[in-house]
């Protein structure tokens, strides 16, 4: 279980009768005691090594008695929730914020219980690694979830390397509720394949996208702005605006300084607060043909005013921090701020941070 999603919110059980099946529940009662945080669970009260304020009523927790551990899967106060299904991946992107490891988390029954506790209309993120490596189990689970909870929508982060013509059978019935988040890093095979460290990935990706287009699926195309993609941005925009117009929108993303991106930060990061022009060109090319665009992980003030309406507060709230000078900014409430992990890198980060 180590390294599970949201590891910083998992807590050791101190007093609990072990050796029972794992269980999922929504947190209702909790009291802070000298020994820790006492919470009610389907197995009776348990005390967690947690601080007051770390958990909230309504959080959805998974209790793993054998491992003496409670994991928070979903936050009570959020409309979107993410499950990390596996850490394995068939690509090895050179800026991966979560480098692949052979760890899988196939808790399908527990996930189903968790989803059934979600408020109406929630969005469930399905992330990896590469979730489609678990396609055999994932697909029937998704169809079943959609049957039980047609109000839920799903956001699947996938490299679209594992789609065959026969997959229409499940992609089409889910097309209204399943948003595909698919990365593309260059408009040509050579550069894209180098970045994802897999030969033939670009060609396979195109046939996957072709299938999704024909199924009428909703697609969020994701491209990272960094040194290896920098000079190819215009060619990438040309490719996207000509051949991928069926997408819902194109997200251009700044780096998250974790994993490989954290290690190789200096060789990857581009300071778009000083050099925004190639990003602006990509946005203008998309605007010219009415392809919608969004900017993820760009602090608001680093984006020139004409493009600021594209900025999303995309950094998850639990990873989000602000700099001291941000206190003066009038737009902080709509700004995604900075990744917590940005702290160690800030001297090599955005040079122009100016409160708005």
């Amino acid at each position: 279980m180590a390294g599970f999603t949201m590891i910083r919110h998992s807590f050791q059980i101190r007093e609990h009768d072990a050796a029972r099946e794992p269980v999922v529940f929504a947190l209702k009662e909790m009291t802070f005691t000298a020994g820790g945080l006492r919470i009610g669970s389907p197995y009776g009260d348990v005390v967690l090594a947690a601080m007051a304020g770390e958990l909230d009523r309504g959080d959805i927790l998974a209790l793993f008695p054998e491992e003496n551990r409670v994991v928070r899967w979903f936050f009570s106060d959020s409309l979107s929730h993410t499950l990390l299904l596996t850490e394995a991946c068939d690509q090895r992107c050179l800026m991966c914020s979560q480098p692949p490891r052979p760890h899988r988390y196939p808790f399908w029954k527990l996930y189903a219980q968790a989803l059934n506790l979600l408020p109406e209309g929630s969005q469930v993120g399905l992330s990896g690694g590469e979730p489609l490596l678990l396609k055999k189990e994932l697909v029937p689970w998704l169809l079943e979830m959609h049957r039980c909870r047609p109000d839920l929508t799903f956001h699947l982060l996938s490299n679209a390397q594992h789609l065959k013509l026969g997959d229409r059978d499940w992609i089409e019935p889910l097309r209204e509720v399943l948003l595909w988040g698919i990365p593309l890093y260059a408009g040509d095979a050579e550069r894209h394949d180098q970045i994802v460290f897999k030969k033939g990935a670009f060609e396979t990706l195109l046939s996957g996208l072709n299938l999704l287009a024909r199924c009428g699926s909703r697609v969020e195309l994701r491209s990272i702005v960094m040194q290896p993609t920098w000079t190819g941005l215009s060619a990438l925009a040309d490719f996207v605006t000509r051949h991928l117009r069926f997408i819902d929108y194109w997200a251009l993303m700044q780096l998250e300084p974790m994993g490989y991106a954290g290690e190789a930060w200096e060789g990857l990061f581009v300071d778009t607060s000083e050099h925004f022009a190639p990003v602006a060109t990509a946005l203008a090319m998309a605007q010219a043909v009415d392809v919608a665009t969004l900017l993820y992980n760009f602090p608001r003030c680093t984006v020139p005013e004409p493009w600021r309406d594209r900025v999303c507060a995309s950094v998850s709230d639990w990873k989000r921090r602000y700099l001291p000078q941000c206190g003066l900014c009038r737009e902080q409430s709509v700004c995604g701020g900075f990744f917590e992990s940005y702290w160690d890198r800030s001297h090599q980060g955005f040079q122009r941070i100016q409160p708005l």
Binding site: A235, H243, T281, Q287, D290
Partner: protein
């Protein structure tokens, strides 16, 4: 590898290639020669595939991408939601180029009757659309404020979102019109021919009447701003050289847009200048030349600051080239089916496919009516018209490099040549559009920062030096 159908044309800077889905690039004769015989290098195939001109196999990624772009280029909205209503043909002005053949203010029998009004409101009630754009034309529609008030009140109830445009000469400014304008989905459109003296000569026939009109216009602009009050000129052949002056007059009025529009060969304009109007090719060439000079002037003005002006033809052409579904403007689209998304209801309750179609009927030239409020649509006639409103199947158009962006104008051909089966190449519409598209593509290919700044403003509404299209030159060397 397979090539999709493509078209080409030699411009001053090289050979322009395009395809029916609207993709384009520039190269030279050497590549053209090799494309013609299919003798292409792997790098050339790769370029053509990326550019949207080729695929490996039917059904593959590039094939489907082409199919999707083709669909976007051609799809015409299928819901009637734009209606031009002509509640009266009477007018209190007599412009010398009047294209609708107005009748005098006191003449009887050229207004909607109570019965026509009732039928029109019932027609609106039965539309599928929940939105509507309703344009009041004339004659002078504000001679019938009572009808305008009743129709607008009805539509505000009936539709989720409605817009109303009142096209008036503003010879008078009744208080009832101002009260109607208090609703913020009511817009006003009027004619301003430019400098006062030109406006007097063409429209009001007296400086006093022009001053009165200008006072009305100023008062409306002050009250409602240029977002709600639009105006446009009509330019007679003898005044083509005055376009820059007209633009300056619009700047002085604080306009952010102008539609450079030459008088068409309808109504009184036919009688005014029969010889100039008759030699279509020469006239078209003169218009294109004048337009190009005027646009250089406008581009220069826009870079010098002050209020930025956009010219409607240029915006529309750029939208046709770049945007995915710029298929709403009936003057520049193909196919251009009648009574699909737009319709005109004339003063006598008859339906027409466009404003120009009723103008031809008004002079007894040809009856292009496609039904009436009383009898419904004449489907047979609509089908007949539609077969001639597709440049995709017209022999003059299928090889044209601008076919994907252009339209087709059977009604203008009828007006000028009395028949629709003339070769398009010599017609006013074709010659003007060729010239205008040449102008646009020479600008797009020229990489001049001033042009880029202006083109972006015309396409997207805000002027910027940021490039909005990728490199599209292929050097076969």
């Amino acid at each position: 590898m397979k090539l999709f159908p493509f078209q080409f044309r030699t411009l001053s800077s090289g050979v322009l290639f395009s395809n029916p889905a609207g993709d384009f690039f520039q190269s030279d004769e050497r590549l053209l020669g090799r494309m013609a015989v299919g003798d292409l290098q792997p790098t050339e195939w790769a370029f053509l595939q990326r550019q949207g001109f080729a695929c490996e196999d039917p059904g593959d990624f590039y094939y489907n991408s082409f199919r999707q772009r083709l669909h976007e280029k051609k799809a015409i909205p299928n819901r009637l939601n734009y209606i031009i209503a002509v509640p009266t043909l009477r007018c209190d002005l007599s412009c010398r180029y009047c294209q609708v053949s107005r009748v005098g203010e006191k003449v009887q029998g050229y207004d909607w009757s109570e019965e026509t009004l009732a039928r029109f409101l019932s027609f609106l009630d039965h539309l599928e659309s929940s939105t509507l754009k309703l344009e009041f034309q004339g004659g002078e529609p504000i001679l019938r404020m009572d009808l305008l008030e009743r129709i607008i009140a009805h539509c505000q109830e009936r539709f989720d979102a409605a817009e109303f445009v009142i096209c008036t000469a503003l010879n008078t400014l009744p208080n009832r019109l101002l009260r109607l304008m208090a609703q913020d989905n009511v817009y006003l459109s009027t004619s301003l021919d430019g400098p006062s003296e030109l406006h007097s000569r063409n429209r009001t026939r007296s400086p006093e009447a022009t001053r009165r009109f200008e006072n009305h216009l100023r008062r409306l602009l002050d009250s409602f701003g240029p977002e709600r009050i639009h105006f446009l000129p009509t330019v007679m052949p003898n005044d083509f050289h005055r376009l820059p002056e007209i633009i300056d007059a619009y700047r002085a009025w604080g306009c952010d847009g102008i539609y450079l529009r030459s008088a068409s060969f309808h109504g009184f304009a036919r009688k005014q200048l029969p010889t100039e109007m008759a030699d279509q090719s020469a006239l078209a060439d003169r218009w294109v030349a004048a337009y190009s000079v005027a646009m250089e002037h406008l581009f220069r003005c826009n870079t010098e600051g002050g209020p930025m002006i956009r010219e409607f033809n240029l915006s529309q052409m750029l939208r046709r080239i770049f945007k995915r579904s710029a298929n709403h403007h009936v003057d520049l689209r193909s196919p251009n089916p009648a009574a699909r998304d737009a319709l005109l209801v004339n003063w006598d309750g008859r339906f027409y496919p466009s404003d120009e179609a009723r103008m031809l009927a008004a002079i007894g030239h040809s009856d292009l009516s496609i039904g009436s409020l009383a009898c419904g649509y004449d489907q047979e006639k609509i089908a007949q018209l539609n077969w001639n409103q597709m440049n995709e199947v017209h022999e003059s158009c299928i090889h044209c490099v601008y076919q994907a962006y252009c339209g087709i104008d059977m009604i203008d051909d009828l007006a000028r040549c009395d028949r629709i089966d003339v070769p398009k190449e010599g017609s006013w519409f074709c010659r003007v559009q060729m010239g205008l598209f040449d102008f646009v593509f020479n600008k797009l290919l020229g990489n001049n920062p001033v042009d880029l700044f202006n083109l972006s403003g015309h396409l997207n509404g805000h002027f910027s030096h940021t490039p909005f299209y990728g490199r599209f030159y292929y050097d076969p060397a």
